[in-house]
Amino acid sequence: MASVTFERANDTSRRRGQPRQATAKRLSRPPRPGVVDLAVVLFGLGLGASVALALTAETAAGMKAPGGVAMFIGNLTGLAGTYLALVMILLVSRIPVVERTLGQDGLLAWHRRLAPWPISLIVAHAVFLTIGYAQAAHTGVMHELSTFISSFPGMAIAIAGFGILVVVAVLSIYSVRRRLRRETWWAIHLGMYLAFALAFAHEVVLGPSFVNHPLTQAVWSAAWAATAGVVLVYRFGLPIYRSLHHRLRVVELRPEGEGVTSVILEGRHLDRLPISGGQFFEWRFLKRGLWWQAHPYTVSARPRPPYLRLTVKAVGDHSAALARLEPGTRVAVEGPYGAFTAHARRHQRAALLAGGIGITAARSLLEDLPKRSQPVVVWRVASEAEAALAEEVRQLVSHLGGKLHLLAGSREEFPLEKVVGLVPDLATRDLYVSGPEGFVSGVVGLLRHSGVAEEAIHSEVYAL
């Protein structure tokens, strides 16, 4: 098995007598910026419609009566909050065309930015409606709460859902969250799916905008059913299908440098896998202690059917455990994801700026770049010993007529200004930046500062 090579297939330096592995040619489909524009418009339409829906159930007389204002606010915040929650779920539903247009990091950024809104709106919904009903019925808030649970259809489970929402919201507050293990928090926060499923019934059975309005009831139900369908298909169905279809197994572990290991997998039908250089999978190694967590790692080369490769730097539990995998271990994948691909190019020429292990994305991306891109690769790495895949990168760059600057040394020795300074004529190139968070945000900041257009900057941060 030691003969698997991911070096350029037609390279003369290839050892003689070695079987040639052809590169799979099937690229991921291109991004569709139009889809994003459409999504933005749909988002606005839905938000406006949800707010208007609350108004349709309101009357001037109703507002004047006891509890009327509180009830109106409660209905409005409930509708708007639930709508935004639906949008948040769609943002992380892995719809392929959206995923490869905005990239997972972009989608997650929006998901996070939006998060406080539905949560606070839904909390307001619960508070205002309890107060409003208590005022209308001339009872206390506590009494009203027990009436809700005992008498309203769908309310007991909705309150259970609300409880889950509050728990997840509290755990997501930064000072609480950083005390939790990342995987623990992540698993708990999936409880939100349950929370919104439980809340659904009370919306359409009790919501004044829905009762007696079969049309709005149907539209709202269809929107949620479609969202659930999208999640089931793209977050569960497609990954399960792909994993079963390709049947990936570990075949070889290859040390690449200090703390860096390549994991080589063998699978079926990899020639049919649509993937671009620079994309990543969420990998799940089906082995005791590892199967329950999926971590993102970039493919460090285009697939060479029947082989696929990722290259990992040991930084914590999961990444360190990969060096100790046994051949034969089965692997499930979600993906490929990511917009850090050759599709994103706006210019003829390109520059790739990589920090440390960020070279994996640059390495596989180089395979997709055309010759005229003459890529300048600037790679900062702590030491020569950590410069994994350096030989492959060097060969690819020279094949494309580009230039490699390998900066092995400390941050003081090679500050980011120096990294960026090595790229000639910044304004006429696409700039691909990959690596740890500090490196990427620092470099992107410098590029913006030097006047590089936003459309020409493409980045992949190796942390989510």
């Binding site: 933005v40 606005g44 406006g48 707010v51 349709t56 009357t59 001037a60 004047k64 019925a137």
Partner: protein, 158 residues
């Protein structure tokens, strides 16, 4: 770029907002429009109401001679069904009673029982179905008013 998208989203939000309000006035709820204006919810409801409720010019039972007891239509109002029985004596409503009340759940039953006496007083005071909805019981009020109106209509048709 991003600012342009924000503008699109805002514009779309306005359009979505307006579209729902327009659709709502055009289609309305399954409770007939005549009832909604009767319940005082949407003042100046569309003129098409008059075809369904020919009594809009003289809303009450004025001019009806003799003593009559009429039962209004059983009206579904989302959380249940209600029908009223009116007693009219020489052009005046002298009593409003519940002929039928069925609710989907016990809470709606409680609400209905709380508000029906208030609604009855409103009908007596207004001498018509033109009453205002009671907060927290808009649908009950609408259903109730609709049944009152249908009883008055039946009475006038003779």
């Amino acid at each position: 770029m991003t600012r342009l998208k924000g503008a699109f989203a805002t514009l779309a939000a306005v359009v979505g907002f307006a579209a729902v309000l327009v659709a709502h006035t055009l289609i309305g709820s399954s409770v007939p429009a005549s009832l909604r204006s009767a319940a005082g919810n949407r003042p100046g409801g569309s003129p098409s109401n008059s075809s369904k409720t020919p009594t809009t010019t003289v809303p009450g039972p004025a001019g009806v001679t003799g003593n009559h007891i009429v039962t209004g239509k059983v009206t579904g109002y989302g959380y249940g069904e209600v029908a009223v029985r009116l007693q009219v004596d020489n052009g005046r409503i002298v009593s409003v009673k519940v002929a039928k009340l069925l609710t989907a759940d016990s809470y709606s039953q409680q609400i209905a029982q709380q508000v029906i006496p208030m609604l009855a007083r409103e009908v007596m005071a207004a001498q018509s179905a033109r009453i205002s909805a009671i907060s927290g019981a808009t649908y009950t009020s609408e259903g109730y008013a609709y049944s009152v109106q249908s009883a008055l209509d039946a009475l006038k048709k003779g």
